[in-house]
Amino acid sequence: MILPLELVRVAYRDIIKPLSISIDAGPTTIILGANGAGKSVLMRLMHGLLAPTGGQVFWKERDLSRARRLQAMVFQRPVMLRRSALGNLLYALEVAAVPAAQREGTALQALEEVGLKHLAQRPARVLSGGEQQRLALARAWALHPEVLFLDEPTASLDPTASREIEAVIRAFDGAGTKIVMATHNLAQARRLGDEVIYLHQGRVLERTPADQFFSQPASAEAAAFIKGELPWA
């Protein structure tokens, strides 16, 4: 296991104020907050795409290249190479140093998992937005990550496509992958979340089980956010 992940007084410019937080295996963690609260930056600090300007990020797995290989991230907008759907998965597996003989089987199985096997030979970039996002999830699935970071994965999708994405996210959860997802979509957070980290202006205001967060938030800002009010208005 590469988890738990420990952030020790991690800061990033003035976007993330020094915060310490631990992410462990198990429940789905939702990072909730308004636009500009720092959700995306916090995830990128966890995933290692950004280097903190203060503090440190520790994985239990001290071999960092191994820790990196066992985590994946799906972005708000899927980024696909100009190759077939299958080709995009094969590329990811190649970069991850999966033996050539195993790549195609693993990739096809992942496409099957998200319901895209019939589109395997299609150019990835001509797929619809929802299909591309499922393809991004398949690409993550093929890598068998222990942790999957999701940055607003359905923010630019219609409700039907969003439901399909959520189904795949549940499948990840069912397979034992730790899900860490940033969203500002309360309904989605309620549907998928086990615990909520509420971020406000770069600070963690609370971290509570999802039920409790939605029924009795501890901070006034979170309560206002839930009520759909703008906390800064």
């Binding site: 972005f75 190479l81 590329y91 991850a96």
Partner: protein, 234 residues
């Protein structure tokens, strides 16, 4: 008007009849410009990619410089290369002045900025889109850069063809460093300039038709390659 009609008929006769003088000039033109575009691609593409992806002091100045040099006047390049290669110049001992080699050098200098500046823009746009995803997948550095270059190869091909179009249609640089010597350094553009001033309009016009056809064919190729790739790969 009659002279234009007559000249055009004679010109078409030269082209269809495979006139050896005309064929030789066209072949030299293409040889020089294709060589120049090959060298310019070898130099300009990695330069553009490095400036696009790298972060180093002076980067912005280099970008501005490359963009500005896209509009480099060919005669000025010709003059600079002439001074370098002339007998008294620093590279005079190579004896390259008034040879096709000098013309290749001049055209290379002329189109390196074009290929570098345009590929810098293309690579930078693609890099901005791909960088996080590639790093997330574990691809970094040189490997990631090659992945991006391969992914935008059709855009890069269009850029190379733009460079070739500029090289083959350019007259100022090659006439200075080549000297327009019959059978040695006479290319389409310099021949057109000379034959027109001599009054041999059919040959000038024939070369003009070939030159325009080549430029149109290059642009058509660039367009259709890009279109086909767009349909095929999105």
């Amino acid at each position: 008007m009659d002279s234009i009609g007559g000249a055009t008929r004679t010109a078409l006769g030269l082209i269809t009849g495979g006139d050896p003088t005309l064929a030789g000039i066209v072949a030299l033109s293409l040889g020089v410009s294709l060589s120049a575009v090959t060298f310019a691609t070898i130099l300009g593409l990695p330069l553009g990619a490095a400036v696009a992806v790298g972060r180093f002091p002076g980067r912005h100045a280099i970008i501005v410089l490359l963009n500005a040099l896209m509009g480099l006047p060919p005669v000025v390049v010709g003059l600079a290369i002439y001074l370098l290669l002339s007998r008294a110049g620093p590279l005079g001992s190579l004896g390259l002045l008034f040879t096709p080699g000098a013309m290749v050098i001049a055209q290379t200098v002329l189109i390196v900025p074009i290929i570098a500046a345009l590929s810098r823009q293309a690579v930078e746009d693609a890099w901005r889109e791909y960088e996080e995803q590639l790093r997330s997948l574990g691809a970094g550095g040189f490997g990631a850069a090659l992945t991006v270059l391969w992914d935008i190869r059709f855009s890069l091909l269009t850029i190379v063809l733009a460079g070739l179009g500029r090289a083959v249609a350019e007259v100022g640089a090659v006439i200075i460093v080549g000297g327009n010597i019959d059978g040695v350094t006479r290319v389409m553009t310099t021949a057109i300039a000379l034959e027109t001033s001599k009054g041999d309009l059919p040959l000038a016009l024939g070369l003009g038709i070939v030159l325009i056809s080549i430029v149109i064919a290059l642009n058509a190729a660039a367009y259709f390659v890009k279109e086909a790739a767009q349909r095929r790969y999105g």
